[in-house]
Subunit: 372 residues, 2 copies
C-alpha cells in the first residue's frame, strides 16, 4: 500500500501544504464520502442545489465568507481563473497580471490565447508589486491597443515571496479604468479575512487544498455584481446546469469537508495577526544566524517566507554530503518540506505551527548551522 | 458531523454510484493522502512526472489499460470532453454526437459554442444508437456546411438505457470521413475491456468516480496518434506544464487510489460477462412480475437497466403513501438509490452485486408487488 505519514511525524515547511492540512473532523467526513459520486445521493439536478449534504448552504456560506454575491465550488484556484479568462478574453485580447503571479495564471492566459502584459515587481530584494504599477500597465495596454485590458488579475499573496499586495488600491485603479478585476486569494482566503466587495474585486478565486484546510481538489470562484448572470448562465436545454461549470464541479468529499470547515475557517482567519507574528519572529531569529536574509517585503505580512541562505550554501560546499546535508539534517530532526540538495535559498511557511514547534524549528536550524 | 452510511447498510441501486464504490485498500490510501496537496511532497515539476507516489507510472498504466498512446488524469469525463472540444472546435463549427449522450456532452458543446448535430436513436422502446446513423449525420453536416464535423463523439454506454453501441463501427465511419473521434467510456472503462486503438478512437474519456472504483473527482483523457503533440503542448514559459491541463489536474488522493486500483481494475473487467448475466437474470425476473418492461436494447449488454413500471405506478395510485411507497418499502428492506416518489419508471444497476444480493433484491420487489 502507498503510504504517507508526513504530517503525523514531521513538521512540514512546504508552503503549498500548510494551509491545506485537514483536522480530525475533516478526515472523518472525507472518509464518509470517499466513494465516487457519494455526494450525489440526493441529487437536486445540480451540485450547488444539493440539500443533503447541504452544499446549497455551502455556496451561500462561501459567498458571505469571501464577500461576493455568488460563490461556486470549482476544482481549484487555477480552474477558477481559467473560467474567468475563458469568458472574458478572446484570442489576442490583453490581460494584465502581476510579475509574481502563479505559473497557472500564465498558463491559463496562454490557454485562452490572451496577449499578456505583466506588471513588473520592484525586483531584488523585495520583489514588491506596487499597486500604482497596475495603472502604468493599464495605460500601456491602452496605448498599445486603444482599449483597456479585458481583465486584470492580482495575486493577493504570491507563492514565491509571500508578498501581500494592497488589493483595494488595485481595485480602485481597475474601477477607474473600467477593467474587470480578478483577485487570486489562493494564499489568503482561509488564512486571513477577505471581503471582495470592499476590495472592489469583480471575481475572486480561492484554493481549498492550499488554504481552506480541505483535501484536494477543490476551490472557490466568487462573482460580484453584473457578472453573475453571465458566469452562471444556464444551458439552453438543461435549465439547472451552469454552462461554464459543465453542470457540477467538485462532486466529491472535499465539498462536504468544506461545509464542515466553514465555522473553523471563520475562526482561524481571526488569528492571522498571530500567524504573522510567528513569521516575523522566525525571520528575525534566522537572520541572527549570519548570512541568511529574508527576501520579499519586510517586515513580513504573511506566513510564506523566502530566504536566501549563502551561509547554508557555504556549509554545503565543504560538507561530505554536499548540498544534501540540509535536507538530511532537517529530516533527522523531524522537519521536512524543503527541496533536497538546495541550499542557496528556500521557501517555507510557519502557518499553523505552535510557538513550541517554532522554537524547536529554529533550534534545529541553529544546531545545523553551528555543527556545519 | 455530516455522515453517510449508505454503502455499508444498503444495497445502492444508483447506476452513478455502483462502479465508483471503493474497496478497503482504496479507503486507506485515500485517508493517507487526504491533506490538500499531499501528492505534491516530491514534486517533479508537473503531476504526471511525480515518482512518489508513482503517478508517472499511473499514466503509463492507464494508457495501456485503455489502448491509447498517452493518458492523462483529468477531473472527470466531462472535463476531458471539454478539453477535446475546446481544442478542436471554433465557435459555430459542427460537432456530432448520439442522442443518448450525457447532458455534460451537450453542455460542453454549448460552452465551446459548437453547432450541434445529434445522431437520432431508434426511439421507444429500444432507444438504440445505430452506428450507421453516424454516417447519415456526418453526411448531413457535409451537406449543410460543406465540410465534415470537427469532432464526433459516441457515448459508449449511455446513462439512461445502458445501451452499448458498437464503437468500432462508428470508428470506421469516422476514419472514412476523416472526422476526429472521441469515445466517452464513463460507463464502460473500468467495467469492461476497452482498446481505443482497436476501436479507432482518437480520444477516449473515462470516469474515475463512475467506473474506476475511486473517490471523486478524477477521470482520464486518452489521446492517440497525431493528436498527442497538440493536446500535450507545453507552456512557452514552463516547459513541463501542459497548457490544456493548466499544469496539474487531479492533484489529490484519487490519483493515488487509482494507482492502487490498476491491478484490481485489470482483473474486474474480465468479469464483465458475469455482470451482464446478472443484469439479464434480473430483467427476466422483474418482467415476470407483470407490467414491468425493460427499455433499451434487449437482451442487456450492460448492467445499467431502465425499467418502465406501470405495475408499480398502478400500486402507487391506490396506496396510502402514494408514489412514495416504493422508495420507502425498498428503504425498509435495506435497498436504496431510486428517486423517492417515482414509480412509472426507474433506472438502476446490478453492477458488483453478488448473486445472493441479487436474489434478495428481486425477492424484495416481488414482496412489494404482491403486498401492494
Amino acid at each position: 500500500m502507498i503510504t504517507r505519514y508526513r504530517e503525523e511525524y514531521f513538521i512540514n515547511l512546504n508552503p503549498l501544504q500548510r494551509g491545506g492540512r485537514t483536522n480530525a473532523l475533516a478526515r472523518k467526513v472525507a472518509n464518509n464520502f470517499v466513494d465516487g459520486y457519494s455526494v450525489c445521493d440526493y441529487c437536486k439536478g445540480v451540485l450547488f442545489l444539493i440539500e443533503k449534504p447541504p452544499i446549497c448552504k455551502l455556496t451561500i456560506d462561501l459567498a458571505e465568507f469571501l464577500g461576493v454575491d455568488e460563490a461556486r465550488i470549482v476544482h481549484g484556484a487555477r480552474e477558477g481563473k481559467y473560467i474567468v479568462m475563458n469568458l472574458l478574453i478572446e484570442p489576442g485580447e490583453p490581460i494584465v497580471f502581476d510579475g509574481n503571479r502563479h505559473y497557472t495564471t500564465y498558463v491559463a492566459a496562454e490557454r485562452v490565447k490572451a496577449k499578456i502584459y505583466e506588471v513588473p515587481t520592484t525586483g531584488y530584494p523585495y520583489f514588491e508589486v506596487l499597486p500604482e504599477a497596475y495603472e502604468e500597465t493599464i495605460k500601456r495596454v491602452i496605448k498599445d491597443t486603444g482599449r483597456p485590458p479585458k481583465l486584470a488579475l492580482l495575486t493577493h499573496v504570491d507563492g514565491d515571496y509571500g508578498n501581500l499586495t494592497n488589493a483595494k488600491v488595485v481595485g480602485d485603479i481597475c474601477k477607474n479604468y473600467d477593467v474587470p478585476y480578478l483577485l487570486n486569494t489562493a494564499y489568503t482566503a482561509g488564512r486571513m479575512e477577505i471581503d471582495a466587495k470592499k476590495i472592489k474585486a469583480d471575481f475572486i478565486v480561492a484554493s481549498g487544498h492550499k488554504s481552506l484546510a480541505t483535501p484536494g481538489v477543490i476551490g472557490v470562484l466568487g462573482i460580484n455584481g453584473k457578472w453573475v448572470d453571465l458566469f452562471l448562465k444556464k444551458s439552453s436545454k438543461y435549465p439547472k446546469k451552469d454552462i461554464e461549470l459543465l453542470g457540477c464541479t467538485s462532486r466529491n468529499a472535499s465539498a462536504v469537508v468544506l461545509i464542515e470547515n466553514i465555522p473553523y475557517l471563520k475562526e482561524r482567519v481571526k488569528n492571522f495577526e498571530e500567524e504573522v507574528r510567528k513569521a516575523r519572529w522566525f525571520v528575525e531569529k534566522m537572520e541572527s544566524l549570519g548570512e541568511i536574509r529574508q527576501l520579499g517585503i519586510k517586515p513580513k505580512k504573511h506566513d510564506l517566507i523566502r530566504f536566501e541562505t549563502p551561509l547554508l550554501y557555504e556549509i554545503g560546499e565543504h560538507h561530505r554530503k554536499k548540498g544534501y546535508f540540509l535536507y538530511e539534517e532537517l529530516q533527522a530532526r523531524g522537519i521536512t518540506g524543503l527541496k533536497p540538495g538546495q541550499t542557496n535559498w528556500f521557501k517555507m511557511s510557519t502557518y499553523g505551527l505552535t510557538w513550541k514547534q517554532l522554537n524547536y524549528l529554529f533550534s534545529a536550524f541553529e544546531e545545523i548551522v553551528h555543527q556545519g
